[in-house]
């Protein structure tokens, strides 16, 4: 009876589903890698360095100040990767590192680490970079002749500015906002445009997102709600005044697809209720259009998500589910 001597006595339930938090997180990491590969394809090998710097920035503080073994759950790696994918290809590496470190330290560790934070750490890091280095973060180096050539001034000395002589190219949203020129939707869809490392190919992001949604590692309601709201709102504005960009342009330009699929759906910082998820997504879509159309910035996805992150506790509060038997069906019908 050797088996009997080491019998467990635990409380019910005694079985559990096979999904685990680290597994979810590492799967997300895996689905982000194709985006990184695509970014490398479009912008050259330099982007690998930028993303690596962002990941290092995120992982180091988590390792030294986070829970013991917190790196194992993979969430810091996601933060670093996501941040890296939203950066311009030629950003000095030290800035990418600062962004990752700030995002993890002030977006996550001060709240108590995984699961406790209110704002998406990657976006906190991104917003900090945007506010701290407004020029560098909006400098989009133009394509070079050689794929292997590094773009921008990646190796600027820490704390020092990047060399200023970079040849820049505009993003589709910048062209639309400041020069009133549009870009072909197909180009946007397949990614033949300028922009951040990971946000150019809407098609690839959608495929990766669909895989995660099928595995139920992300809540499909959030991106669907974001896309619907953006399309409807932008479409209505476009109908009223054709000078405003059309819904397809709105959907596939900038970081909307990346943000809606990989950032808005961060479980920790999105609502837990299904009704809440719809509201959350709609809020993001609405704010994105407002900021892009009437705001002073070309891109608003990051801010839209951060603002809605702030609203999440409130959304959760007002969308508590109706409990079983609280209002019997026959009364309602």
């Amino acid at each position: 009876m050797s088996a009997e001597s080491r019998l467990l006595v635990t409380a019910a339930p005694h079985v559990g589903s096979t999904d685990s938090t680290p597994r979810i997180m590492w799967t997300v990491v895996a689905t982000l890698l194709p985006l990184l590969a695509a970014g490398t394809w479009f912008f050259g090998p330099g982007v690998l360095l930028v993303v690596a710097a962002a990941v290092a920035g995120a992982v180091l503080p988590e390792h030294f100040f986070g829970r013991r073994g917190a790196l194992g759950d993979g969430s810091a790696a996601i933060t670093g990767l996501l941040l890296g994918l939203t950066l311009p290809p030629g950003l000095p590496l030290w800035m990418a590192f600062v962004g990752g470190a700030f995002g993890i330290a002030f977006g996550k560790l001060v709240f108590g680490g995984l699961g406790q934070n209110v704002f998406n750490p990657a976006l906190v890091g991104r917003a900090f970079l945007q506010a701290a280095f407004p020029v560098a973060i909006t400098t989009w180096p133009a394509a070079t002749e050689e794929w292997m050539t590094l773009r921008g001034d990646l190796f600027a000395t820490p704390l020092m500015s990047a060399a200023a002589d970079t040849v820049t190219a505009a993003t589709p949203l910048g062209l639309m906002k400041f020069e009133g020129t549009g870009t072909e939707v197909l180009e946007l869809f397949f990614g033949q445009t300028g922009g951040s490392i990971g946000e150019t190919s809407a098609l690839l992001i959608l495929v990766c997102g669909a895989y995660l949604a099928l595995k139920r590692y992300l809540d499909w309601r959030i991106p669907v709600s974001v896309f619907l709201t953006t399309a409807v709102f932008a479409g209505a504005l476009h109908l009223l005044n054709p000078e405003y960009p059309g819904p397809l342009f709105m959907l596939f330009s900038g970081g909307l697809v990346l943000g809606a699929i990989f950032m808005a759906t961060d479980m920790v910082t999105s609502p837990v209720t299904t009704k809440g998820a719809w509201i959350f997504g709609a809020g993001i879509g609405f704010l994105v259009v407002v900021i892009r159309v009437w705001g002073g910035l070309a891109e608003g996805v990051m801010y839209a998500i951060l603002l809605m992150n702030a609203l999440v506790p409130f959304i959760n509060r007002v969308t508590q589910p109706r409990v079983f038997g609280q209002r019997p069906k026959e009364d309602a019908s």
Binding site: G112, G115, L297, A310, L311, F314
Partner: protein, 192 residues
Amino acid sequence: MSDLFWILLSAMVVNNFTLALFLGLCPFMGVSSRVDTALRMGLANVFVLVLTSLSAWTLNTFVLPYAPYLRLISFIVVIASLVQIVEMAVKKLSPALFRQLGIFLPLITTNCAILGLAIFQTNRGYGLFEGLFFAVGAGLGLTLALVLMASIRESTELSDVPEVTRGTGLVLIIAGTLSLAFMGFAGLLSAA
């Protein structure tokens, strides 16, 4: 009209009274731990701000051109007395409303948002309607910041915040992040 709207929107989100101008920090830090209280505090603030705007305009138009050095003192005295009177009137006319908002009124009178509004309005030379829109925008901005902060604090109350960061430090970091997020509204309805 669009100027009035810009004034309202600017005070509410672009240059949010609390998150960009640091006015009304006392209630922001002190009364922001429960959403209900924060909401009522915010609405009471809207009310007092509108009163303030009216009195500041009256003083600026009819009294202060003759004695500009009395500006600060007269603002304080007039606003405090006016709020006191209104408080008594509300208590008498609508005890229900008083229970909801009344307890905050004395707290608000000497709050920096109130005096700040009066002074900003004066410095910018706002007229009556501009002042009113400014006051409503500022009040709504304050309410927005208060409610956001309160709901976030209610949720962090349930998380395992490290002892080192617990308290005002964390509240300030959250406020900083909110302030970062509100930078997204920069340039709203501006030129071009």
